[in-house]
């Protein structure tokens, strides 16, 4: 039986992990690989690198990081942030990533999803979506540019289209829940899981182990993206897995 996945996400800028991180026990402060290896040792199911490097010139740094990650990590590595073209996909995959996540560029050019799926296989095409509930409560709108711009596109229409174009997975971030640490957006995740047959990663709002239990018990999502809970050492991946087991949620049996 397929297990639910617990996925730490690292925000990386100019080759360093950003956001407040508790660095205890890490050899190189802010080194994404050291942090990723720590999560690997805790038996995380995957790791996500989200590159928020602003300048395009500095993007070679992420390539080197991915190459190190590919040779040193024993779990899958997904990379997102600033992916615009098929060439970007090629570069990131050739550097050693297992999956590439694409966000704004897929909205601007949905054909990119289909082209990438054809060339590299659906399994490595993750479409990341930032969405927010409409003020009138009639549904959700998809946002781009880090949540600054409302596309006016309906979330349900967009995920359905992503699936038909060949997306292998949806990484769904609720802008309403993100940063609140008040729990995942159960309603939004359910709305998406009901209309797609591809895996869905829930993101945004995780503030406790219980939030992860809730998202697995109350939705049909496949994975939970976790950032600060792990980065601040409030919980280890193993703590989360143990709690899941107690709730009869099927998770990886490691160590």
């Amino acid at each position: 039986m397929l297990t639910k996945r617990i996925i730490p996400c690292l925000d990386i800028k100019d080759g360093k992990v950003v956001k407040g991180i508790n660095f205890v026990g890490l050899k190189d402060v802010g080194d994404p690989i050291e942090l990723a290896k720590k999560y690997d040792l805790q038996c995380a199911d995957e790791v996500v690198f989200l590159d928020i490097t602003a300048s395009y010139e500095k993007r070679d740094i992420i390539k080197d990081l991915i190459a190190r990650g590919a040779s040193e990590l024993t779990i899958p590595l997904a990379v997102g942030g600033g992916i615009r073209t098929l060439d970007d996909f090629r570069t990131i995959l050739a550097s050693g990533a297992d999956k590439v996540s694409v966000n704004s560029a897929a909205i601007a050019n949905p054909q990119l999803i289909e082209d990438a799926a054809k060339e590299f296989g659906v399994q490595c095409v993750v479409v990341a979506i930032d969405a927010k509930k409409r003020d009138d409560g009639s549904g959700y709108d998809v946002y781009v540019k880090g949540g600054r711009e409302n596309t006016g596109i309906d979330l349900i229409d967009w995920v359905t289209k992503c699936q038909s174009l060949g997306a292998g997975e949806i990484l769904l971030t609720s802008m309403d829940a993100d940063g609140t640490k008040a729990g995942y957006d159960i309603d939004m995740i359910n709305a998406v899981c009901q209309v797609v047959d591809i895996p869905v990663i829930a993101s945004g709002g995780c503030g406790s182990i219980q939030d992860i239990i809730d998202v697995f018990e109350k939705t049909n999502c496949d994975a939970a993206l976790v950032a600060s809970l792990f980065h601040f050492d409030e919980a280890t991946v193993e703590d989360v897995r143990e709690a899941c087991r107690q709730h009869h949620i099927n998770v990886r049996r490691a160590k």
Binding site: M1, L2, T3, R5, D40, C43, D45, A67, A70, S71, E72, L73, T74, I75, P76, L93, A94, S95, G96, A97, D98, F120, G121, V122, Q123, C124, G168, E169, D197, I198, P199, D222, A223, R252, R253, A254, K255
Partner: protein, 202 residues
């Protein structure tokens, strides 16, 4: 010497890194002379079945792989590299595989989310040296939409996905394959590679 076959299909860095970690010094190659001298062969692969076979032909690797199979050299296919060991694949269009293991590779036509992506438990169908360091029910990382169908005599281990048994490890004499990614499967995957290493006399 262990050869990782480079036929321009997916990233080889992780496979290379995983084999390094268990003390091997593999060579990534598409050079027939190097492959001829190999004591063991790893055939990786991510992508689509027809492209994999096309690339093997393009780089003129099919004959040398046949030679090594006949010589009894241990060969391990990973993911798509395992799928092309079979007779036929049905991804995109019906395509002949290497035919090293009798069977076909078909779309996972089941009522579950596709791709089958994530960690799933291994169940053993028969004893095999590849399982030397692995326990029943340990998890490994899968990501695929097609799966192999073969006679149980070639099936070493499988995983449950919905109502389907997903072929996870196969073997036909010196030719072996795993659908999951041992290089992405933590210590369990490393233990499978360790067992493969012991079959290689180098």
């Amino acid at each position: 010497m262990l050869a990782i076959i480079d036929y321009n299909l997916g990233n080889l860095k992780s496979v290379y890194g995983a084999l390094k970690r268990i003390g091997l010094d593999p060579i990534i190659t598409r050079d027939q002379d190097v492959i001829r001298q190999a004591d063991g062969i790893v055939l990786p692969g991510v992508g689509a079945f027809p492209v994999a076979m096309e690339n093997l032909k393009k780089y003129d690797l099919i004959d040398v792989l046949n030679e090594k199979k006949e010589q009894g050299t241990p060969i391990l296919g990973i993911c798509l590299g395992m799928q092309i060991l079979f007779d036929w694949g049905y991804e995109v269009e019906k395509t002949a595989g290497l035919g090293f293991i009798p069977g076909t590779v078909e779309f996972m036509d089941i009522d579950e989310k596709i791709p089958h992506m994530g960690w799933n438990q291994l169940h053993f169908n028969q004893k095999h040296p590849l399982l030397k360091y692995i326990n029943e029910n340990e998890d490994v990382y899968f990501v695929h939409s097609y799966y192999a169908k073969c006679d149980p005599q070639y099936l070493v281990a499988y995983s449950d996905y919905g109502k389907a048994n997903i072929t996870a490890i196969v073997a036909n004499k010196n030719v072996m394959g795993c659908q999951f990614h041992p290089e992405k499967s933590g210590t369990v995957g490393q233990n499978l590679l360790k067992a493969f290493k012991e079959m290689i006399s180098c």
